[in-house]
Structures are given as C-alpha cells and as structure tokens.
Symmetry: C2
Subunit: 95 residues, 2 copies
C-alpha cells in the first residue's frame, strides 16, 4: 500500500471519526430511501450549514452519494463500498 492509498484511507476514517458525521451516517443507515439534508438535520443538533458541510466531507470520501431532486438534494449511504473498505482494513489488521 503506497502513501496515497494510506492517506485516502486515513481521510475516510477521519471523515467517519467525528461524532456528528458518524451520527449522520447512522441516520442514513436506518433509512431505506435517500434523505434530504433538512431531514438529516434532526439527528444532530447543529445548524443546517454545518450539516451541509459534514455531508460534503462524507461525499468527498465516498461515504454518501448526493442526487439533486428539485430544490433539495437527497443523500444515500454507499453501504457496500464503505463496508468493504472497513473490512479490508480489519482484514489487514487481523493479519
């Protein structure tokens, strides 16, 4: 594994390693349908602008996917992709 890949993995873990962002992930986890940001605001008591930024970070790391839907944007969790990356790390660590 080269440095770039390692940095990428670190960025993923850092994205997940913040309480409100992790809360957003769990919230999305419990929804089958994609959710808009206003709905996601409810799970963590911060300003909508903050939620917007957190979702942007999660999207940059491929954790969530965004789709425009009229004037709102709906987010969904990239379940298998994130799960796969976490398991790959777990496998490496377990050796």
């Amino acid at each position: 594994m080269d440095d770039d890949q390692r940095q990428e993995l670190a960025d993923l873990l850092k994205a997940l390693g913040e309480f409100n962002r992790l809360s957003l992930v769990y919230e999305l986890c419990q929804c089958n349908a994609p959710q808009n940001a206003m709905c996601l605001c409810d799970c963590c008591s911060v300003d909508s602008s903050v939620v917007s930024r957190h979702l942007k970070v999660l999207a940059q790391q491929g954790v969530v996917q965004m789709e425009k839907k009229g004037r709102e944007r709906v987010y969904s969790l990239n379940r298998s992709d994130v799960a796969h990356r976490l398991r790959a790390l777990a496998d490496q660590i377990e050796g």
Copy 2:
C-alpha cells in the same frame, strides 16, 4: 447504540484517521513481535516525542497495548479487538 458508544466509536476512528498514526498501525501490523517506540519512529518521519504522543492516543483507544521492558516500552497491536470493532461498524453500515 447510545451517544457514549457512538462517541467511543468516533474516537477510535479518529485515532486511526491520521496519517502518521495509521502508519504506526500498519508498521505494527507487519511485526509479529512487539516493537519499541524507537523502532516505530522509522516508519513515520516525525520526532520521537510525536510518536510517543501518537502511541498514547492509540493506546487510549485500545488500538495498541504497551508493556514496559527495561528502559524501553514495547507496543503490540490489539489485532482481533480492532478488527472486530471495524467489522461491527461495517456490518451496521451494510445493514
């Protein structure tokens, strides 16, 4: 999952989500025998004091285990524990 557990998980992910700390984990991952901090310094080009602090963070999150050995302290990776926690998250995310 209550807030405390979620915070704990976030703290674990944050601990792993920093490049040099992740490098330390990978370095330990490749060693069968516990390693002392001086040896671990080599894998990330930072001051030994920084390595010391990073190892402390990893120890606090249960990622590594420390054992005193004369004037040096040897660190080993809590492989199964970390792997288990990461897989538990992966399972939750995959739903």
